[in-house]
């Protein structure tokens, strides 16, 4: 059996910009532009970056919630985007997603039991007489009580709702879960509970996560490998230890130095990035980061850097490391 559960090869996702009454195509937004990575079974890969850099689009394209423009997404060496309807239906139970906002991703009209069990019934995953038992087990393992089944989402707090979202994803016995900023809408103390829950579930069910977040401290805690995205492309990728102890790309360095440290005595040695992220509809020529880069060279303005392996799977796309 293959080691890699997910393989993404040169994935591209472009969105057309349409205008006028006839929807004339004016341009394209390159939301994801040539991204490749693999995720090993049972590990967690983190995707970090500013908003608008294409993290969520990558996650959704992997799940085929969005159609790709180019490239390949392999799930157990099977191309996700060329599956037929029937095969795709089967695959849906294997890949799940947890959304960012637990307030808007739960139907207010369904009781919690039905929210969690709806897909289980739809896919006939468990025999009818085992259904209740299955539901109870999933709810308990997510820290919900069995009597919560008849309640509606509005009766729950943010943290509890996120548990419902996790239970809904988990009820289908998935192997791969995309966590799209699962804790950024929650309080610090609740965040810790949800992160611990995700870790426990991973250990119990052998899950694989793609963890999308802009909170670097959370990413460092939960992830085994990290990919840093900027303007639709991966600028740096490697094991969490390598990336956090030895960030190479100037963007990664700036990103790390921007994290506020909860220690008033810590020395501030901050690289403040000037300006905003450029529009992905009209990305800069050459290296996409050169407009905000401190260490920009002449070559950066004309030629896009290639991915270079710095050893131990630590990949970086930057001309600084050309030899």
């Amino acid at each position: 059996m293959a080691d890699n559960i997910i393989e993404v090869k040169h994935l591209k996702k472009y969105f057309p910009i349409k205008s006028g009454p006839l929807g004339k195509r004016k341009g394209t937004v390159k939301a994801v532009d040539d991204v490749s990575f693999t995720i090993k079974k049972g590990t967690t890969m983190g995707l970090v970056g500013e908003s608008g850099c294409g993290k969520s689009t990558t996650g959704r394209t992997i799940l085929r919630l969005l159609d790709k423009t180019e490239g390949e997404v392999l799930f157990y060496e099977k191309e996700v985007h060329s599956l037929h309807k029937k095969e795709l239906r089967e695959l849906r139970t294997k890949m799940q997603i947890i959304f960012q906002d637990p307030y808007s991703s739960l139907s207010p009209r369904l009781p919690v039991g039905e929210i969690i069990g709806e897909a289980v019934k739809e896919h006939n995953l468990v025999p009818k007489d085992k259904y209740e038992e299955h539901l109870n087990r999933i709810m308990l393992s997510c820290g919900l009580q069995v009597y919560h089944k008849d309640r509606y989402p509005h009766e729950f707090s943010g943290g509890q709702r996120q548990r419902i979202c996790i239970a809904r994803a988990l009820a289908l016995n998935p192997e791969f879960i995309v966590c799209d900023e699962p804790v950024s809408a929650l309080d610090v103390s609740i965040q810790a509970q949800i992160i611990n829950l995700l870790e426990d579930l991973q250990a119990e069910y052998g899950l694989t996560y793609l963890f999308i977040s802009h909170d670097l401290s959370v990413v460092e805690h939960i992830c085994d490998t990290v990919g840093v995205m900027y303007l639709g492309g991966l600028v740096e990728m490697g094991s969490t230890e390598d990336i956090f102890s030895n960030p190479l790309h100037p963007y990664t360095k700036a990103l790390f130095s921007a994290i506020p440290v909860p220690d008033p005595l810590a020395k501030l040695n901050r690289i403040v990035l000037k300006g905003n992220i450029p529009s992905p509809a009209n990305p800069p020529k050459g290296c996409k980061f050169h407009t905000r880069c401190r260490e920009c060279m002449e070559i950066c303005k004309t030629k896009a850097p290639n991915e270079k392996n710095m050893g131990n799977g630590h990949m970086v796309s930057c001309h600084l490391y050309d030899k």
Partner: protein, 389 residues
């Protein structure tokens, strides 16, 4: 109906319709009383002009109680909060959502949703520069002159706090025109552009003519700050100014706020739940839990020597970059129901360092140093020995 009663026995959140009607009737009586007092045509000046305890403070919260009279019971959102904001300093207020930190700041702005929300007790003394007023007793018309002028607020969501149908310039102009009626149009525009430049918007002339949707989140937050600064306020209330922003943009905005504080010499009340932001920005820290202050002190005292179990828990539950831990600490349980608060320490049921005395009345604030206060039995002199042993 029967279902409600049955559930009522199990869960304090449910009350019968009859009970709810009775409560709302009673509440109306209470709130009408407050409203009547507020809506008097003439409020004598002596009622709201007071004196500061310490002239070096801009704001003094003195035993503030802000309650919400809801149909299921009285929610004591702010329940006896006292702290000071010294001139030219930044005071950070931390706590979970629902702990009353925003209501504290709204009470100061007199923006609490009336008639349900009422300041029941206590005072907020504010030094406007030439006189000291008690904001809680100010008549509405007088308050309008103060709000946006001497007191300004930066809201959490720059996406929703700007009006989408007016140009940026117009919205900032409005603030200045309202508080400086003697200024003419050109001067106002000049001042607006100056303000936009002050907050680091490079293309200020262009932005003046733009609509909010044409700007990114960070730029919008800058516009909000410009609006807040337009009238040289004595105090800026920043209610989670960076929560909705990216880390890199957050760093820019925090740098800007720090820089501005020095330049215009005003105080900042910074409300956030990010301890990292507090450590970087604040001079003093106030930790709130369930409507009360559990600990307050200087930033160094709070971070190097956190004394309340809640503060300690809060610090441990946040993963820090560079500090790898096997498992995150999470504070067990959840915040008690705001309607039926227990008589004992509100944190007792979640506390892992409980003593026997904790079942007694709510602990008073104990002074540990001239600036450091904590509300916990473990720091009472008599119990400190016991704790060590």
């Amino acid at each position: 109906m029967a279902i409600f009663i049955k559930n009522g026995a199990k869960d304090a959140n449910y009350i019968s319709a009859k009970e709810s009607r009775r409560i709302s009737k009673e509440n109306r009586k209470i709130t009408n009383g407050y409203e009547k007092k507020r809506n008097r045509k003439v409020i004598p000046k002596a009622e709201y002009v007071t004196k500061m305890k310490n002239p070096n403070n801009v704001v003094e919260f003195d035993n503030l109680h802000t309650y919400f009279f809801s149909d299921v019971g009285v929610v004591k959102s702010v329940n006896g909060v006292s702290f000071d904001i010294p001139k030219g300093k930044t005071v950070g207020v931390v706590g979970e959502s629902g702990c009353g930190k925003s209501v504290t700041s709204l009470s100061l702005m007199q923006l609490v949703q009336r008639p349900q929300g009422q300041v029941v007790e206590g005072a907020i003394r504010f030094n406007t520069g030439n006189e000291v007023v008690d904001v809680t007793k100010m008549p509405t018309a007088k308050m309008q002159k103060l709000r946006g002028n001497k007191l300004s607020m930066i809201f959490q969501e720059p996406m929703t706090s700007l009006n989408p149908v007016f140009r940026i310039g117009l919205q900032v102009d409005e603030v200045i025109a309202l508080h400086y009626p003697q200024m003419n149009k050109e001067d106002i525009k000049k001042r607006t552009i100056e303000m936009l430049e002050l907050v680091g918007i490079a293309n200020s002339e262009g932005v003046y003519k733009m609509y909010p949707h044409e700007l990114s989140g960070g730029m919008r937050q800058r516009v909000m700050i410009a609006m807040g600064l337009a009238c040289d306020p004595e105090l800026i209330i920043a209610d989670e100014p960076t929560t909705a922003l990216d880390v890199t943009i957050q760093a820019q905005i925090l740098d800007l706020l720090r820089d501005l504080k020095v330049r215009i010499n005003s105080s900042i009340m910074l409300i956030t739940h990010d301890l990292g932001v507090i450590a970087e920005m604040a001079d003093y820290v106030v930790v709130m839990y369930a409507g009360r202050i559990v600990e307050k002190g200087t930033v160094a005292e709070i971070f190097s020597n956190p004394c309340h179990p809640y503060t300690i828990g809060l610090m441990n539950s946040k993963p820090a970059v560079g500090k790898k831990v096997g498992r995150l600490y999470s504070i067990p349980g959840k915040v008690p129901n705001p309607i039926n608060m227990p008589d004992y320490c509100y944190f007792k049921d979640r506390c892992e360092m409980c003593l026997e005395v904790c079942a007694g009345i709510y602990p008073e604030l104990v002074q540990l140093s001239p600036t450091h206060f904590v509300s916990c039995y473990r720091h009472y002199d008599i119990f400190r020995e016991e704790d060590k042993g």
